[in-house]
Symmetry: C2
Subunit: 192 residues, 2 copies
């Protein structure tokens, strides 16, 4: 195996570990030591691949994660034709996702948002942009007649996803997702 | 001042610091060192007042916090007569709360839920019970005709509160609360 392939594999493993750790315990769980332990990479190599350290690896990992979640949201919404059914499918997909993670992993953007402080303004902007992207994606798929209402409703959908993750982890149940999906589908059916 | 008064003051200050730190960065932010620094208490006194250490102080702080939030929710909901107006008042109160904290503090039960792991089963149960209490309180105030629907709708309200906090911190805006309040008031008006 060529060195560059080795390199690219190690780099990717560190990013995957960072995503997994952020989904479990946010920024505090994704320290350099934890990333090294989880990925099996030698400690020096973190700074080799990510010279700016934790901020850089976390920022890149969030970008990879954001793209994956966007694809996940798009696939779930596109699986049905009628907007209320699209919403039910979306929340059902998230319910399965939190069950598959045995209620120990949630949304990395959510966990990191609740660890923000004033020193992390760059990261805050990355998170705000991620939420804006997801919201736009949801609004595009649901396609309410009034675009202002559509953006606002998509915001509620995103709010419910993030909040359901919190309750699911504490309650060890995916019911917050199915509950929210049913109510929001009903609300949407009455709004279109 | 008597020693016992001194004692009770120090103990209370440590609990207040724990609440403030959990609201900012969850369990990771509320380490013993951080509690000592924030409260100005001598380090030894943490173990004097809380012999079981972090788990004990966090558990007690969450209990105090849960009671305060219950009072906050009850007061906001009771301030209006019609259920949709009650909901708008509740979300407006949370919007002011997150603005007052300059978007740096959110719900301690939410932040700690996203820091849970398998070693914290006791704490998980405390959080699940806290969410159940708040949900019951909301359901009681909104008083939907069908109690099963009422419990489920109150769950959605709680989910939206927790999720709005996440978005508010990343977006530095209280709009996720006002947005959710308006939609849920509309949903409730159509359900009663």
């Amino acid at each position: 195996m060529k060195n560059s392939e080795n390199d690219s594999g190690s780099r990717q493993r560190m990013l995957e570990s960072t995503i997994a750790l952020m989904r479990q315990r946010g920024l505090a769980g994704a320290g350099i030591n934890e990333i090294v332990r989880h990925s099996g990479a030698p400690k020096g190599s973190v700074y080799h691949f990510f010279p700016d350290g934790k901020q850089q690896i976390v920022g890149e990992a969030l970008a990879v994660y954001a793209g994956r979640v966007a694809a996940f949201i798009e696939q779930a919404l596109a699986s049905e034709r009628r907007p209320p059914d699209k919403l039910r499918a979306l929340f059902a997909a998230f319910a399965r996702r939190v069950e598959d993670g045995d209620f120990a992993a949630s949304c990395a953007a959510g966990t990191v948002s609740l660890d923000l402080d004033n020193d992390l303004e760059n990261l805050r902007q990355v998170l705000a942009a991620t939420f804006a992207d997801w919201r736009e994606l949801i609004a595009g798929q649901l396609a309410l007649a009034d675009p202002v209402e559509g953006a606002s409703f998509a915001g509620l959908v995103l709010t419910a996803i993030e909040g359901a993750y919190i309750r699911c982890r504490a309650e060890r149940s995916s019911r917050p997702f199915s509950e929210a999906g049913e109510w929001l589908a009903r609300l949407l059916a009455g709004s279109t």
